[in-house]
């Protein structure tokens, strides 16, 4: 009885983590097309949600790689109990919400890894984590993926501008990149769906196996796949507008050609990494692409302050969620009462974060307004110059 309750709790929390994962990562695919006006914000997030839903059903290959090798399990290793997974998820969810509050695009998988590592250290000691694998699979890719994606996006942006540049003053047709952005960003959203929903499926399947509901090494049941797909789609549709703002406007001002180059680079890098066996994080690849495309266009600038803040967030993701996961495990392993305390505390923190976020709400309508005061003042000047009496903005 006790065990089934904790299993249910873990499943619910895992689905909530999936939700935060979706809404954290909407920005990866949709920040740039929204910023260049390729799609209306609501249309863009709806498209991303549908593609994530579809993507989650397309592939279950990744589903059981989540704790593969990172935490020593099985013979001679440690037994990962549902309570420890629960504590790890608490760490991941809380860190995801904190980074969302600050509008930082951080890796949801790192948050999940961090939380599980923290819980494992408390539950089974420092020796339970394979630090070499951690360095190899998590830390180094985190440093390298933005560099690779940035380089690719830089070259692609340079090429796009060089090819379409005209010296005779005739129209260059660069607005046509806006149309292509719809497809390139869709590709990113689909690739994300096939990757990220899998992680939650993996966690839930792992818990069901450890509880004896499923046979060892079995595939995720259809119900689990459907629930995860739905959770990530709803999260994607909700849209983490704070992060969309950071990626779409905070790093650099994106023009359609840059947006197309950045999205194509993101999609290509993710696809190459998932097919050639060097796993890179979607979020870090997407951020690197945006920076690379900012460097690639003449006369554009990258706001390195924002980039530095994002980088700091990445560095902190693993240790911070590990600490939260460790604390949650410390309390949770006391017994059923500890799990209840964990649950109440986590719910309290989540409520506090939402209350703070209400102070300055960011949503589809205002995600890109008032970011740049110079642009804002230029708008005032233009309104005065053209037609002062009519409101310039249509009701859209």
């Amino acid at each position: 009885m006790d065990l089934t309750l904790i299993v249910v709790l873990v499943i619910v929390l895992a689905l909530f983590f999936d939700f935060t994962n979706g809404f954290h990562d909407t920005a990866n695919a949709m920040a740039t097309p929204i910023a260049t006006g390729a799609m209306r914000p609501k249309v863009a997030v709806a498209l991303a949600a549908v593609l994530n839903l579809v993507g989650a059903f397309l592939s279950t290959e990744v589903a059981r790689t989540i704790s593969n090798g990172l935490i020593r399990e099985g013979e001679g290793g440690v037994l990962i109990s549902p309570t420890m997974i629960f504590a790890g998820l608490v760490g991941a969810v809380i860190w995801n919400l904190v980074t969302w509050l600050f509008g930082l695009p951080s890796s949801s998988s790192h948050a999940l890894f961090g939380g599980l590592i923290g819980a494992a250290i408390v539950g089974a000691g420092l020796g339970s984590v394979d630090y070499l694998v951690l360095l190899d699979k998590v830390v180094l890719p985190a440093l390298l993926s933005p560099v690779i994606a940035g380089l690719v996006a830089f070259c692609a942006t340079r090429a796009a501008y060089a090819i379409t540049r005209r010296y005779d003053g005739l129209p260059d047709g660069r607005a046509g990149f806006r149309f292509a952005q719809i497809f390139s960003s869709s590709l990113v959203a689909l690739a994300h769906g096939t990757n990220d929903a899998q992680k939650t499926m993996g966690v839930i399947t792992l818990v069901l196996i450890s509880a004896g509901v499923l046979a060892p090494a079995s595939n995720p049941p259809v119900l689990v796949i459907a629930a995860c797909a739905l959770a990530i789609a709803v999260g994607t549709y909700t849209g983490g507008w704070r992060i969309i703002r950071t990626l779409g406007k905070g790093l650099t001002d994106i023009k359609p050609a840059q947006g197309f180059a950045a999205e194509t680079s993101t999609a290509a890098t993710i696809l190459a990494s998932s097919h050639l066996g060097f796993a890179l994080s979607t979020t870090q690849v997407a951020s690197g692409s945006v920076i690379g495309s900012g460097l690639g266009r003449r006369g554009s600038s990258v706001r390195w302050g924002t980039a530095g803040r994002i980088g700091l967030g990445w560095l902190m993701t693993l240790p911070a969620s590990a600490i939260v996961g460790a604390v949650a495990a410390l309390i949770g392993l006391l017994g059923p009462l500890g799990v209840v305390i964990d649950l109440v505390a986590a719910a309290g923190v989540i409520v506090v974060i939402f209350v703070i976020s209400k102070r300055d709400r960011v949503h589809a309508r205002n995600a890109f307004e008032g970011v740049n005061e110079v642009a804002e003042s230029a708008r005032v000047v233009r309104i005065r110059k053209v037609k002062p009496k009519r409101p310039r903005r249509s009701a859209a």
Binding site: I34, A35, T36, G37, R40, V43, L58, S59, L132, L140, I148, A149, L151, A153, C155, A156, T157, A159, A160, I163, T164, R166, L170, P171, D172, G173, R174, A175, G176, F177, R178, F179, L187, L190, T194, G248, P256, A261, T264, S265, A267, A268, T269, L271, A272, S273, L276, G277, F278, L280, F368, E369, N372, A375, A378, R379, R382, R393, S394, A396
Partner: protein, 110 residues
């Protein structure tokens, strides 16, 4: 330790494929504008605070671009050739993207 070979493989593959798609699409746009048919895509929403355009202004801009593009110094045959090249590169670009979709969906290749 870190598998540098596969890392460079990933970086190289990403670089080649992303540049291929972008170069093909950009070439298509370039040929389209060479053929005197520069596309005009109005933003669906004006998130950039500087440019806020009414539908009437957008239509006027589209007309202006069309007129400017028509001043091309090319002969009709050259224009038709450019248009053909434009469509060819768009189709090739679409094929590369479809290959990307093929890679995403495991049911298609496993």
């Amino acid at each position: 330790m870190i598998d540098w070979a596969s890392l460079f493989l990933v970086a190289g593959a990403a670089l080649v494929s992303a540049c291929l798609v972008v170069v093909l699409y950009a070439l298509g746009l370039r040929m389209l504008s060479t053929a005197g048919r520069a596309p005009h895509v109005t933003p669906a929403e004006f998130t950039d605070a500087i440019t806020i355009v009414t539908p009437a202004e957008a239509a006027a801009e589209a007309k202006r671009i069309k007129r400017a593009a028509a001043r091309s110094p090319l002969t009709p045959l050259q224009k038709r050739l450019a248009l053909l090249l434009a469509y060819t590169s768009f189709v090739l670009c679409g094929l590369v993207v479809l290959f990307g979709v093929y890679l995403i969906v495991p049911a298609l290749h496993s």
